[in-house]
Amino acid sequence: MDAATEVYMPGSEEEAIAAFGDGTDIVVVGGGTIVVPEMSYRRLQPAKALMLGRAGMAGIRREGSRVTIGATTRVAELADLPSPLGPCASNVADIEIRAQATVGGNICAGSGNEAPRGDLQGAFLALGATVRSAGAEGVAEESLEDFLPKRRKRLLLDISFDEPAAGAFAGLDRPHTHDYTALAVSGARSADGTIRLAATGAGGSGTRLPSAEAAAADFEAGGQAALGDVTPHDDAIASAWYRTKVLPVLVRRVLTELKESA
């Protein structure tokens, strides 16, 4: 731990935004589950740290069918939400980690070297979520897809989505992966029948599967088509090869479940 790090612990969203500024040289600490080990191992020695735990940015708000989730909401709080978000969140790590990790920290996680990070990215991508964030050029709202490439430089404030007509989640958990999710697919069907699919663990961050969406009428074809949307890699818990074998299976399962809940 670098004793020289300047620590900010804002008491409100406004204070957090002010402290974050344009995001230069400041590390955001949600629950700490990702950032604190990086500091313990000295891979991260920030000049400034923004501890969000007391900024009142947690909570799940509903307005009609629009759901808004605050950045520091614990991952555990999502467990009872409908698919894909509920099962996706319940599949993250274990009960202790889920109770400490935050939604914002999960979405904004950098891609992991040893195992995929940011499980929730997949579920929120499938839900067509919108992110409200602060940083250089002020507060902005944009799709999660547009936000993800900048997630390391923005302060996520909350994330919103419209409740889908149906949702599904299929994750690959292997005993040796020690509670990391090697690969997962989330799916959602909106009222007009549009299907959105996304994967985590098949690239640097959560990835939409547009080819699978286009071929979704045929579950097998959809599964195979998904391979064209991803660039799986080797890491400590699974090989790229294994991921290419399993991805079509997970896509098929999600498409099947979406159809069955029609």
């Binding site: 731990m1 700490g32 604190v36 080990p37 501890m51 274990d94 980690i97 020690h178």
Partner: protein
Amino acid sequence: MNLTVNGVTHEIDSSPLTPLLDVLREELGITGAKAGCHQGGCGACTVLIDGEPRRSCLMPVGYADGGEIMTVEGLGTLDDLSPIQQAFIHHYAAQCGFCTSGMLLAGQAYIDHGGTDDEEAIQNALAGHVCRCTGYSKIIDAVAATARGDSFDLTETAVGKHTTMATGGAE
């Protein structure tokens, strides 16, 4: 910043970013919670904060400010062992003992939240805890026994009893 640990309040000098584990062990000299990995991967550092099990190696101490922290030392004493501690002794649920503190506290929280002797539920509650010695089954037995309210005679021995292959043991 103040930290209340096992009922005693301490004033803390460490930066709010310091992991709670390091504050407990290094600043306060309370060593029951162990440093197994400093990555949240093993569960040896778990403590209870307001009755909830949390990885102390991941928690910046600033977030623990104002909370009631319990480490394994707060569960019971040599003269007054808590039921779960007795269960762990009776069921041989500790070998090297390094994971034991985290297992006990996670198990205690599970029971305090109404956990039963259902094996799968216990496994879920302890999912974040790694043991390299026991193979887990005795730990699960001990938590289940505690959930059931079993009582134990810790002085029990069976003098002169012989084991045979057929019975498989003294039990």
